[in-house]
């Protein structure tokens, strides 16, 4: 086979075949067009203004490393006038973040950017290792995800920064769209297609400049630019029902590479068809903030994996097992999703004392969203649609579990929590 020539410069040997259009490109032209497309995404959505201070949610993984590298390049090339800072979260998982934080520290030097590392321990008084010690491995990724979302915003706030960019790519967005489609969650589907969540009224807004970039191209960009990134799975593997959606995306891509971007575009088209009163988008500003940020579940409610806020779909073995299970029973996906929202509802039930929450979690989300108003958490002051924010609710549960009791406490088990409350009552009475 004679080597194919690059479709752009027609001079160099093609090394890359683009998934979205099968275009064959040489290394230099690929790097150029990859950067040009991110630039286009940024300018066409008016993502930044000159003088903005931007925190890059940096995990040391491929997506955020590529994001940092590309933003540095574009900021210099097109004079965005941005002040870029790397912001990393240390979940406190021994042996997991050590290497990835070392990678981020090297990135900070390589890209000449200041680095801020925020630990779960300083933010919440709990490391993930301690959380797992207390509640076990089951359900811990919910904690990790909820804590992580706030951690980035709080870290940004500590730095006086109002805009956090994350490395979510087209595969991530497509996966989220599919998951919300499977859940029948139109409001979240609509919001998950947005490039920005939060707005001028929010204290901290989020955006994903790599929204249209294929994961494959991100990895190839990192490879051809010889970027220094770190790859590992979270060792507390998520129970990750998302794992199978990820596999679905990758299988679709193998059959028809354009499928990923097609799902993203379809998601955007569907989002436009969802009435405003359902999405909450374009409602009054304060409401929009509460909708986009406070719930914290727009992307990766599972929340684990090394990308900030992104669910990577779990430890590979778990994912594989899950995929096989799903092949046996196609309905499993929906089933698991609803079980998980059940669990959420129950946690709220227990602590908030609102018994209608469970049906709400599965039922008419649209109406629920309309009733939400912006508020702040009574405990921590973080923006929340509830009196007590999700993180504080989880912390409440954790703090009650300390010191650890003899009985195994399942976060999703209503009975044991009732038992736990009774025991606490006894302890209180005795004290």
């Amino acid at each position: 086979m004679s080597p194919a020539l690059c479709a752009m410069c027609r001079a160099s040997r093609a090394l890359i075949i683009r998934p979205k259009n099968h275009q064959k490109l040489c290394k230099a032209c690929f790097i150029a067009i990859f950067e040009a497309e991110i630039h286009h995404t940024i300018t066409s959505t008016n993502l930044f203004s000159p003088g903005d201070r931007i925190a890059i949610g940096a995990s040391g993984g491929k997506d955020s490393t590529v994001l940092a590298s590309v933003l540095k390049t574009l900021n210099e090339r097109y004079n965005y006038g941005l002040d870029l800072v790397l912001l990393s979260i240390d979940e406190g998982i021994k042996g997991y973040r050590d290497d990835s934080l070392e990678t981020v520290k090297r990135n900070a030097v390589q890209y000449g950017m200041p680095l801020k590392i925020v630990g779960y321990d300083e933010l919440y008084g709990w490391t993930m290792d301690q959380v797992v010690e207390t509640i076990g491995k089951k359900g811990n990724c919910t904690y990790c995800g909820v804590f992580r979302r706030q951690a980035l915003d709080r870290g940004a706030k500590m730095l006086g920064i109002k805009h956090v960019v994350t490395g979510h790519n087209a595969d991530d967005v497509a996966e989220t769209i599919l998951m919300n489609l499977l859940r029948g969650d139109l409001p979240r589907l609509a919001r998950s297609t947005n490039i920005i969540t939060g707005d001028e009224m929010s204290e901290v807004k989020r955006s994903k400049p790599l929204k249209y970039a294929y994961e494959k191209e991100i990895v190839l960009y990192a490879h051809h630019k010889k970027l220094d990134y770190f790859s590992t799975e979270c060792i507390y593997s998520p129970e990750a029902f998302r794992g199978s959606a990820r596999s679905l995306i990758k299988n679709l891509e193998r059959v028809r590479p354009s499928a990923i971007l097609d799902v993203v575009r379809s998601g955007e088209d569907m989002a436009r068809l969802v009435p405003e009163e359902v999405t909450g988008i374009s409602q009054c500003k304060s409401q929009k903030i509460s909708l986009s940020n406070a719930d914290g579940g727009d992307e990766g409610a599972g929340g684990c994996g090394s990308s900030n806020g992104r669910s990577s779909g779990g430890e590979m073995a778990e994912m594989e097992k899950k995929l096989q299970q799903d092949e046996e029973a196609a309905g499993r996906e929906v089933e698991i999703t609803s079980v998980s929202s059940h669990a959420n509802g129950q946690r709220h039930d227990r602590i908030g004392g609102k018994s209608h929450l469970r049906s709400r979690a599965q039922g008419d989300t649209g109406r629920k969203l309309l009733r939400q108003t912006l508020g702040t958490c009574k405990r921590c002051g973080y923006m929340s649609s509830q009196e007590i924010c999700k993180a504080c609710v989880l912390l409440d549960g954790l703090n009650k579990n300390r010191p650890k009791m003899e009985i195994e406490i399942d976060v999703e088990d209503e009975e044991s929590s009732t038992l736990r409350r009774r025991m606490e009552g006894i302890a209180l009475a005795a004290g």
Binding site: M1, K27, S59, K62, S247, N251, S307
Partner: protein, 107 residues
Amino acid sequence: MAAEEIIPVVVEFTGGLEMLFADQRKHTLAVPAKDEEGKPVTVGWLVNYLCEKVMKDSRKEMFVLDGHVRPGILVLINDADWELEGEASYALQPKDNILFVSTLHGG
């Protein structure tokens, strides 16, 4: 005899795949030039060979699924996407560099 001919190749694993291969990123291998049927060895043959002879980890499905390289793992032959080189049917040449990169790990 030609059947004893050996081809030196370099095989690399990155993006998290190295953990399936004893945490070793770069493997310098000498593989037979011909397969059992006397045909020149291909990348497809190499993938099988890696699974059976090199990989100590039991989780073969992390690398190969349904007889194919697992979706989400990129294969680069001398830095070119293997789709440009005929994928699994590409016949190995001496000193080829075959790189397997996982995109499946956290970003």
